[in-house]
């Protein structure tokens, strides 16, 4: 009974804490500017099913795709087992679903195999990061916390899977001993090999089984609450992020409606623009970005596929699309903390542009969309870069001198170079 109450309290506390943090993140995302992404629900649903559920963009790199698939499938399916653990924990039952008979044995057997593949995959992932030191996982933005974050996640998953398998091994051994309460249920294709390393007395086995059971479930609850602080949040946000992702051709950039009004008024003095909120052009800080940009930032799991295909980054420039996303998340988190501490009106005098992302970074972008194409969860770093450029150019007139010259040429000669409009058709001169 004490165990059941303790379990209930822990579970409720974990869910409550997670809810508080999730709501903070959703509030922070809502600090972004509105953008309509509710059109074409069917196409959006299909995109989410294909890209997030179906992992369609992962297959470009087969080895990590294969390993990630195991961890992903393991995560989704082993959570069925968590449901049983929850019910057992609350009602003091043991393996409540064993009434399913052979289906139950099949399920437990499958979970074991999945747990093992997750375990192996995570070990390989750790080796890739820390022993082989793949280039994709390094970079200026991958120091300190982001580096540890990845390792913490992998180690936690390895520990959770180990506990799950050890628990099953102890359970299987107790079943063989005919211990009361440990009804004969489940199949143990993996953990049967662990039985030998366990003690042989019933009391010791019960201690092992119970410890692993508690470690596993407390671990899961703790991990749930780690998510909002971690890059691992993608396991939840990959789904809404792909659902609300851009469905238009990647080459198409948004036309700013506020500018359209002004340009129409300039070209046609009789035009009366609809009332629009005066705002700044482009983005200086995260709150000038759209809520989709901010959701993108929370979804990023820092895999670095974007940066590894970025032509600027490949050739040694400062720009890294992954850093753009991480900076955006770090800044919106900071803005959110400021609101919690000092209220909504507080200004800390900092901004995304300059305090996080430098001018050198935004001007190194070729807008080639390689980063957008590479992202397995449809994050769009390019849109953020463009919004920062818009602010720099339209609000501050701060662009590299040669860009200003190009803009001047378009304004005066209707071409980016200094040629006379009268000469535009000279190429067709007959002989």
């Amino acid at each position: 009974m004490v165990a059941q109450i303790l379990f209930l309290v822990l579970t409720l506390a974990a869910i409550a804490l997670f809810t508080v943090n999730l709501r903070k993140i959703i509030r922070n995302i809502r600090l972004g500017k509105p953008v309509d992404r509710n059109d074409q629900p069917q196409k959006r649903l299909m995109t989410m099913l294909r890209v997030a559920f179906g992992q369609s963009k992962m297959v470009v790199r087969p080895i990590p795709a294969f390993l990630h698939f195991f961890v992903y499938i393991g995560f989704v399916i082993i959570n069925l087992e968590v449901l049983e653990i929850m019910i057992d924990g609350l009602f003091g039952t043991h393996r409540i679903f064993n009434g399913l008979g052979s289906l139950y044995n099949f399920l437990i057997g499958s979970f074991e195999i999945l747990a093992f593949t997750v375990w192996v995959s995570c070990v390989i992932f750790l080796i890739r990061r820390n022993v082989i030191k793949l280039k994709r996982f390094s970079g200026v933005e991958m120091k300190s916390w982001p580096k540890s974050d990845a390792n913490y996640i992998l180690i936690t998953e390895i520990l959770l899977m180990s506990a799950f398998l050890l628990m099953n091994a102890a359970d299987a051994k107790l079943q063989l001993l005919g211990a009361s309460h440990y009804i004969s249920a489940g199949a143990f294709p993996v953990s049967q090999y662990l039985m030998n390393i366990l003690p042989s007395t019933e009391s010791a086995l019960i201690i092992v089984e119970r410890s692993c059971w508690w470690f596993h479930i407390i671990g899961i609850l703790a991990f749930l609450n780690y998510l909002p602080y971690s890059k691992h949040f993608h396991i939840l946000f990959a789904f809404p992020n792909t659902y609300f992702s851009n469905l238009e051709p990647k080459g198409e950039f948004t036309n700013m409606a506020s500018v359209t009004n002004e340009v129409k008024a300039m070209l046609d003095p009789s035009f009366v623009p609809a009332e629009t909120e005066p705002g700044k052009f482009g983005a200086k800080d995260v709150t000038d970005l759209s809520w989709v940009n901010l959701m993108n930032a929370y979804t990023c799991t820092e895999c670095g596929r974007c940066t590894s295909v970025c032509p600027a980054n490949i050739t040694g420039k400062l720009l890294s699309p992954r850093k753009i996303m991480m900076d955006t998340r770090d800044r919106i988190t900071e803005v959110g903390k400021n609101i919690d501490k000092h209220g909504t009106e507080h200004q800390d005098g900092k901004s995304l542009l300059d305090d996080y992302i430098s001018r050198e970074e935004i001007w190194a972008c070729t807008s080639c969309n390689a980063c957008v194409e590479a992202c397995p969860v449809n994050i769009d770093p390019l849109q953020i870069i463009m919004e920062l450029r818009r602010f720099a150019v339209m609000e501050e007139s701060q662009a590299p001198a040669s860009i200003n010259a190009m803009l001047g040429n378009i304004e005066n000669n209707q071409a980016p170079w200094k040629y006379s409009p009268a000469d535009r058709f000279n190429w067709a001169q007959e002989n």
Binding site: V60, E248, P249, K250, G251, E252, F253, N255, M256, V259, T260, E262, V263, K264, L267, F281, G282, V309, P311, I314, T315, G316, K317, L318, L319, W363, A364, C365, T366, S367, C368, N369, A370, V372, M386, R389, R390, A392, V393, M394, A399, P400, S402, I403, M406, L407, I410, E411, Q414, A415, P416, W417, Y419, D423, R424, F425, W427, A428, E430, N431
Partner: protein, 271 residues
């Protein structure tokens, strides 16, 4: 016949919209030349070859001539939405006044901008890139690869322009236009949706690159040269500049030619 040897002049007249309108006629398609195609000496050759193809197959086409102006693409990518929309709306006024329905562009940037960004500002047209036009003409049997230079068995590698490929998902048309040559098409390691930018997009064409350890076009040329090509095929005047500069830097101008797909098509047909 001097134009086959020296592609600097035209031996037929390129019709303008103003002339067609004066004659009470409408073209089947408007050829949007673009700034590079109009002013850049290297790109002018591509422009003339596109005209030769149009002339050769007998499509009724026209250009805007001096009435054309920048689509606003470089201004938009540089962050100047004002200038972009000024350009766009001025162009849309001209295009709509001429009742334009279909446009072929010689540049993926013009293509992307007119196709995707003009409709929201009141300019909706059917827009195709010149490689799509060439593919269509081949499919319709109007264009073959005969009567000119033979590319049979020649090693050609095609560089995907970002605004045609990733930007608009057009990977097949340019390749189909090359397949008809019976040449040996070789792909670079990074191609199609994984293609590496030439380094000119996003208004980079008009500025010095930020400091780094290598120029993007050199990175791309190194990769192209790994395929050991005789020709590098391009579909964008900016890529053309970047790739040609790369080839010059590598001192490979004699061995490797960078040609636009329109130029290759014109050559193969003896235009």
């Amino acid at each position: 016949m001097n134009l086959i040897l020296d592609n600097t002049t035209m031996e037929f007249k390129v019709p303008t919209m103003a002339e067609l309108m004066a004659a009470g006629e409408e073209p089947e398609i408007l050829f949007w030349v673009g700034c590079a195609g109009s002013y850049d000496e290297r790109a002018q050759k591509i422009t003339r070859d596109i005209c030769k193809i149009l002339h050769h197959v007998g499509i009724k086409y026209a250009v805007l001539g001096t009435e054309e102006s920048c689509t606003g693409d470089p201004a938009k990518r540089a962050g100047n939405e004002f200038l972009f929309q000024m350009q766009a709306m001025t162009n849309i006024e001209v295009l709509n006044a001429y009742n334009i329905k279909k446009i072929v562009t010689g540049c993926p940037h013009c293509f992307n901008t007119i196709k995707n960004e003009y409709p929201g500002l009141g300019g909706s047209y059917e827009v195709i890139h010149h490689t799509q036009l060439i593919q269509d003409l081949i499919n319709e049997g109007k264009l073959k690869a005969e009567g000119g230079e033979s590319f049979k068995g020649k090693k050609i590698t095609y560089h995907d322009p970002c605004y045609l490929g990733r930007g608009n998902g057009i990977y097949e048309a340019p390749r189909k236009a090359l397949e008809v040559l019976d040449a040996q098409l070789v792909e670079m390691k990074r191609c199609k949706s994984n293609g590496l930018c030439c380094g000119a997009g996003g208004a980079q064409m008009f500025k010095e690159p930020e400091k780094g350890k290598k120029d993007i076009n050199v990175e791309r040329i190194d990769e192209a040269l790994e395929t050991n090509p005789q020709f590098i095929a391009a579909g964008c005047p900016f890529c053309m500049t970047m790739l040609s500069d790369g080839i010059k830097l590598k001192d490979k101008e004699q061995e490797v030619k960078v040609l636009d797909i329109a130029e290759i098509t014109a050559r193969a047909n003896g235009l």
